[in-house]
Symmetry: C2
Subunit: 252 residues, 2 copies
DNA sequence: GATTATGCGGCTGTATACAATCATTGCAAC
DNA sequence: GTTGCAATGATTGTATACAGCCGCATAATC
């Protein structure tokens, strides 16, 4: 089959993407978004052949996309056993959130130094978009946009390695939120993002960092990363190691 | 050709590697080490076919290895134009070193909390090995081992995302050292590493961090990241954008 | 003589065929 | 009824064939 142009599933998930993008980027982005928006639950198997069928490309492309996703930690690649959507354990979640605090602090400081007015404008637009998403109840897109806000901020910090690390942390955080968010669901108050931008715009690094840290506290407090001490629910305890299975499963 | 066992070039570059490791890892490690030990200079082209011939594997494997290396920033993957050994610009170098300070601080604090005596033992052994390398004048292996020390430390910090980020930063730092190190070449004093271990072993996080930061200062001071203001040497200025060429090149 | 076409060689991008591996299921033995 | 084993099916790991792109070199033109 010579690379049929058919089956092109929906246009690019979001508007802003280069025209020169290659196939892999398209596939990568689609799977990525699907995971972050929870259309693919943690633990879901990602068969190369199936995905190849869906996107109309060969396994080669899918494989590369999965490899990238694995590098970012949103997909787990088990040798000879295929790929699954990652489901961070409570301990992993703590590590990720800890790392993220460090990075967010650094990024905030740098952004307060280097952010251009264009970038600040872009950030404000993004907050509005995020606000709209939550207003109309699109939780998945909200989580994703909230993540993209932090990514845009990282861009403003002008430090490539930090940006790339942040990308991986934000992705994984989104996964954690999707997995562990408590019943409150009030959510990443766009208001916090908004005030953060104000502080950065006025070049007040200290205040910006303080806001960011309290923002992080907020996120942590909404998660239910219990004490991990025997919840009694086996299903829950082994969720990070369990395969997904069709509802009616037989024990043996 | 069914995967000829021939051409297996030298055993694994270092002793400690799992038996279950796949071909990939072997190729990856070889190229990685070659770059860090400067047997492959920045800018060198890495042809898939050539490498495949050398290691006796197909381009598929080489491609994966190169992709991993690109993720870590030691290889630059130019679409349709092949891979080259990365040569960080002065600005990129600064970003990397900045990020590294952040990470090293965090890692040092965590290591002071969590390092086990086994890990401390391993660190001390590593410092000795490093010492021997410099003693017998093996600069390449010295740089590599010095990097591995910082990686082992990151392991002791028990934070997977930080470890993986550190891996990428250390690799790139090695590249920077190889590229920009001044004439002094006195080098990453193993003594500093040694005293750092002492501080961590005595759980004195504050002192450990102070030592680490002065260690970072030391590294910075040995680099010649000039003011970047017209060094006059075009070759140098455009090194990050320039193709490598055989010595006898004609202008047009 | 300088500048722009054009053909050629080498290399990468993609798809696919084949081999190896793992998980599952059914059967036999205890 | 449970446990261990072997065949089977599905899925990934690897190699390779083919197509397309890039850059260089030669050749043609102004």
């Amino acid at each position: 089959m010579p690379m049929s142009e058919s089956l092109q599933p929906l246009a690019s998930p979001r508007a802003t993407r280069s025209r020169t993008e290659t196939q892999d980027d398209r596939v990568y982005a689609h799977i990525f978004d699907a995971i972050l928006e929870q259309r693919l639950a943690p633990g879901t198997r990602l068969s190369e052949e199936t995905l190849g069928g869906i996107f109309g490309v060969s396994r080669t492309i899918i494989r590369r996309a999965l490899s990238r996703l694995a590098h970012e930690g949103v997909v787990l690649l088990r040798p000879n056993r295929g790929a699954v959507v990652a489901s961070p354990s409570v301990d992993e979640a703590r590590q990720i959130l800890h790392a993220r605090r460090l990075v967010e602090r650094a990024i905030t400081e740098l952004a307060a130094l280097h952010a251009t007015s264009d970038q600040l404008e872009g950030l404000r637009r993004m907050v509005n978009e995020e606000h709209e998403c939550f207003a109309r109840g699109d939780r998945g897109a909200g989580i994703r946009l909230s993540g993209e806000f932090h990514l845009k901020l990282a861009e403003a910090a002008r430090n490539a390695p930090l940006l790339s690390f942040q990308r991986s942390l934000v992705s994984q955080t989104s996964l954690i939120i999707a997995q562990y968010e408590g019943p409150s669901r009030s959510h990443c108050s766009y208001d916090e993002h908004s005030r953060l931008i104000d502080a950065i715009a006025s070049r007040d690094a200290e205040r910006a960092v303080a806001l960011m840290m309290s923002h992080m506290d907020h996120i942590d407090s909404k998660l239910e990363l219990g004490e991990d001490a025997g919840s009694g629910d086996l299903q829950q305890v082994f969720s990070h190691v369990m395969q997904e299975r069709p509802p009616g499963r037989k024990p043996r």
